[in-house]
Symmetry: C2
Subunit: 199 residues, 2 copies
DNA sequence: CTCGTTGGCCAACATCTGTTGACCAACATG
DNA sequence: CATGTTGGTCAACAGATGTTGGCCAACGAG
């Protein structure tokens, strides 16, 4: 909707502004706060203080809080291609491993999930990601187009459920799981959701 | 912590107060608001208005907002017993069906999940439920006590993940799934998490 | 009837929220 | 040097929020 998307994580600069450092600091602080506190409690004042600037700068650069959020959670999951015949039987494992890596060094996803749970805009953003990035993956491995949305939804339910219990709610038994354990348990589930014949 | 827990969902009344109706109205309104808006945006004023009383009454009966939340989300999942030898092979299906019923006519769970995502107290409440109600179920079907927490966590990840995508984020493909579809896909997953030999 | 207790409303408080506009300093360009 | 543009701060606003205390009406036991 908003045309000011050009300042994404990629520093592809056509006109490198002098304020880019500040803009970046604001975005970084915003991601951290949104991830830690959710939408409502991540106040503009707190974000500005983290970025060592005045709250009004946030408004100047991102119009309002919603605009800041939109800019802060723009993300590309960089999902691997699993369409190759050699990779298809391993799709479950590949995807689970990719997701674990994604969540563990990217606070944006935690922010997105936390905000999506209570904020309409956040929920819609997640809808977009599912539709634009997760659905195509399901499409790669599932022949019947009619089943693709359901299979993508199932995959999302398991992957987001793990992220929820482990990185957001931080339920101790979920945090205690070892990385390899998770892969070993979840990979077959994802594989089945994607490729098993509909029950 | 607080001694005023005697007014729970159970109407076991030792001293039926004249204000019980109002108390109930407040709790009902609180559950609805917490479920719809999350902790921060469910304001005491809005809840009071829904219950047709003055905001100050909420404080009088529940001390503060945190106390109101604690009272509003006290819940017993009434998880079925799956320890019987005849039921054990069906544990996955039984549990998934029970959970679907639970979520569909109980807004408390939606409230709890929404709040747990952004609020520390909410997250801890979910921890308690996992520990006190979900873990025992895993214990019923898994012989090795050392594996119980991991298996319970895996089950929670899938069940909460479904709830998240379907009832909180309301991702269209997840909402579109038919009840029987969900059972057919998820039951084997839960069954495997609970009873399959550790990979 | 009397009077303590309970249920309820009203008005206000201090604080925090997003947001705005006026103002100043540094810079680049003519 | 003069001047317009950009980066930034300060002070304030209007509204909402959790919370408090005072006040009044209805009730129930003596």
């Amino acid at each position: 909707m908003n045309g000011s998307d050009s300042t994404s994580t990629v520093s592809g600069s056509s006109t490198p502004r002098r304020s880019d450092a500040t803009r970046g600091a604001i975005l970084a602080a915003a991601r951290e706060r949104f991830a830690a506190d959710g939408y409502e409690r991540a106040t503009i004042r707190a974000i500005a203080k983290d970025a060592n600037i005045d709250p009004s700068m946030v408004m100047r650069y991102y119009r309002n809080k919603e605009g800041l959020f939109a800019a802060a959670v723009a993300i590309d999951l960089r999902l691997p291609d699993v369409s190759g015949a050699d990779r298809r039987p391993d799709a479950g494992r590949i995807l689970v491993e990719h997701f674990l890596g994604l969540w563990e060094d990217n606070e944006v996803l935690t922010a997105l999930l936390r905000v999506g749970a209570t904020n309409q805009a956040g929920a819609e953003r997640m809808q977009g990601i599912l539709r634009d990035q997760l659905l195509p993956v399901a499409q790669q491995v599932c022949p019947d187009p009619e089943q693709v949305p359901a299979r993508a939804a199932l995959m999302a339910s398991q992957l987001l459920g793990l992220a929820l219990t482990r990185y957001v709610l931080r339920l101790p038994p979920a945090v205690g799981l070892a990385r390899e354990e998770i892969v070993a348990w979840l990979a077959p589930t994802i594989q089945r959701y994607l490729t098993a014949p509909a029950p």
